[in-house]
């Protein structure tokens, strides 16, 4: 097992997994608390549609993925704010429409393109040094924004109207959060794929949610669970020769079920009234 670690590709994929795992689990804290799970899942499919269009037209895939992802989250956020349509309906429509576009774009391609499918299913073991640099760069942007605006992000996740009322620019922070979700999804697309990326956003934070009643503790737990599960998943996938995306996600799911069983929240009863 140790000689695996001497390979360049293995070092790259472990580094990518750690960064993507950390990034997803950190953004996931706010996604779970603010109740944006469905929005993010829709974004992943929209970003994939962007990738498919890029390959069809010969444009840069990452750029189009970001563009499609951002437009989708902003529309979702706008619909949520307006409250004129139920969010699950509007996202459901966006979700399937973008997926239809992706399938259409792939169908229009004259030849089979394996790289496109790489974005759908992900393969962290094939991460190139250049992709690693892009992941690193965007990770710095996203983590930097979260650190810079953490108190406002926590506040809007807890109670957006209250935050607005007490002078926090809550709407702008909400759209910042949506933007960070889109960037995170796009960064993670190549490593875990459009279908599974959202598990990496949701599961670590949901696992941490079971284990603590403090916002700061929740964030650290989520980050640790995300990084450890991603890195362990990649190692498992290399050792057992199984695809990396499912290895990471299934391992995280296993940890999640353990957290439910061990959750102090299930065991503790609320203090009775008075």
């Amino acid at each position: 097992m140790l000689d695996l670690l001497t390979y360049d590709f293995m070092q790259r994929s472990l580094l990518a997994a750690a960064m993507v795992g950390g990034l997803c689990s950190l953004v996931g804290v706010f996604v779970v608390l603010r109740g944006l799970a469905f929005v993010g899942a829709g974004t992943a499919h929209a970003a994939f549609a962007g990738v498919a269009l890029a390959y069809l037209m010969g444009w840069p895939p990452l750029l189009l993925a970001i563009l499609f992802g951002l437009v989708t989250v902003w529309i979702s956020g706008w619909v949520e704010e307006k409250g004129t349509m139920k969010l699950d309906v509007s996202i459901g429509i966006l979700y399937t429409t973008t997926m239809a576009l992706a399938i259409l774009f792939i169908g229009l391609m004259k030849t089979y393109n394996a790289e496109v499918y790489g974005y759908l299913f992900g393969n962290v073991l094939s991460v190139t040094p250049e992709e690693l640099r892009i992941i690193g760069g965007l990770a710095i942007v996203v983590v930097g924004s979260i650190v810079l605006f953490s108190k406002e992000l926590y506040f809007i996740a807890f109670d957006q109207e209250m935050a607005e009322a007490s002078g926090v620019p809550a709407r702008r922070i909400f759209f910042l959060l949506l933007t960070l979700v889109a960037l995170t999804v796009v960064v993670s697309l190549k490593t875990v794929g459009a279908i599974l990326v959202f598990a990496m956003v949701l599961i670590p934070a949901s696992t941490a949610y079971q284990l603590t009643n403090s916002l700061s503790t929740l964030t650290w737990y989520s980050l640790m669970i995300g990084v450890v599960c991603s890195v362990s998943g990649v190692l498992l996938s290399a050792i057992l020769d199984i695809p990396s995306g499912p290895a990471i996600v299934l391992l995280s799911t296993l940890v999640f079920f353990f957290s439910i069983i061990l959750s102090p929240k299930r065991l503790r009863q609320p203090i009775p009234a008075h």
Binding site: L33, L148, F149, K151, E152, Y154, F155, F158, D159, E161, M162, A163, E164, A165, S166, G167, V168, P169, Y209, T212, N213, S214, L215, S216, L218, K265, R268, P270, I271, P272, A273, H274
Partner: protein, 268 residues
């Protein structure tokens, strides 16, 4: 006993023929009302009378569609962050998710965030203010407890502490006693009265429970999509005015208790 407001008290909230709502649906029409610094004002009225709209307007979440609203001598649509922080707000219960993973101290610290502004990290002084706010509501022992593990009355105290952590001039409370048992209701109202006197806070208390506040407030404001009456409780709580506003839902008992039927159903 209601505290007395001197004639020289300066107005801090001033509605001037202000209407609020959306196109076609006016929730509150042609409101002219001045609230002076240090007053304890109760806002009453039936369901859908515009009480919550009044709150949202004072919070700066809603600009008047007609007329003007001045808060701290600032036109509402120009209300800046540091002005908003001067209004501590207790939202209606049930807005907050009971299972949200947050501690009492983390909740109260959020009261500092608006006043601090962007890019600043909470420091020791913010923490000290939060602890002091918790002490004001008698909850400092529970600072590390999970918010979701507290009783309804304790949670209200924590949310009042969060409002206090803004170091506000005005405390705006939207139905602070709803969903609490009778003893806890009295405790919460007494706490609010105490904060009004101790900290010299201007208090705007929105409630359906007229009997709970009638002996404690300086002034009552009676709304039903417009301002029906405003003044000392004795002047506002006249049978003919109340009957006009509440209609057949109103029962006044021999002991002079005012019972409003639709709320009665709500509670029991």
């Amino acid at each position: 006993m209601p505290s007395h407001v001197s004639a020289s008290s300066q107005p801090i909230i001033r509605f001037d023929h202000a209407s609020f709502g959306f196109t076609g649906v006016i929730a509150l029409k042609d409101l002219t009302l001045t609230i002076a610094a240090g007053e304890f004002v109760g806002v009453i009225g039936p369901n859908g009378s515009g009480k919550t709209t009044l709150c949202r307007a004072v919070l700066g979440l809603m600009a008047p569609v007609e007329g003007h609203l001045h808060i701290f001598d600032c036109a509402c649509d120009e209300l800046r962050c540091h002005h908003r922080a001067k209004i501590g707000y207790l939202p209606q219960k049930g807005v907050v998710d009971r299972n949200f993973p947050v501690t009492v101290l983390e909740t109260v610290m959020m009261g500092r965030y608006g006043a601090m502004g962007l890019f600043r990290r909470p420091g020791t002084s913010d923490r000290a203010i939060a602890m002091e706010s918790l002490a004001h509501v008698g909850m400092e022992r529970h600072k590390d407890s999970a918010l979701g593990h507290l009783s309804g009355g304790q949670q209200q105290r924590v949310f009042i502490a969060r409002a206090l952590a803004q170091q506000p001039q005005v405390l705006l409370l939207d139905e602070p006693t709803t969903g609490l048992d009778i003893t806890t209701q009295h405790n919460v109202i007494e706490l609010i009265e105490h904060l009004h006197q101790e900290l010299g806070l201007t208090v705007l208390l929105v409630t359906h429970d007229i009997n709970m506040i009638r002996t404690r407030v300086d002034r009552l404001v009676l709304l039903k999509t417009r301002l029906y009456a405003a003044g000392p409780p004795a002047d506002v709580l006249k049978a003919e005015i109340l009957r006009e506003v509440y209609g057949k839902d109103l029962v006044i008992t021999e002991k002079d208790l005012i019972i409003v039927e639709d709320y009665h159903h709500h509670h029991h």
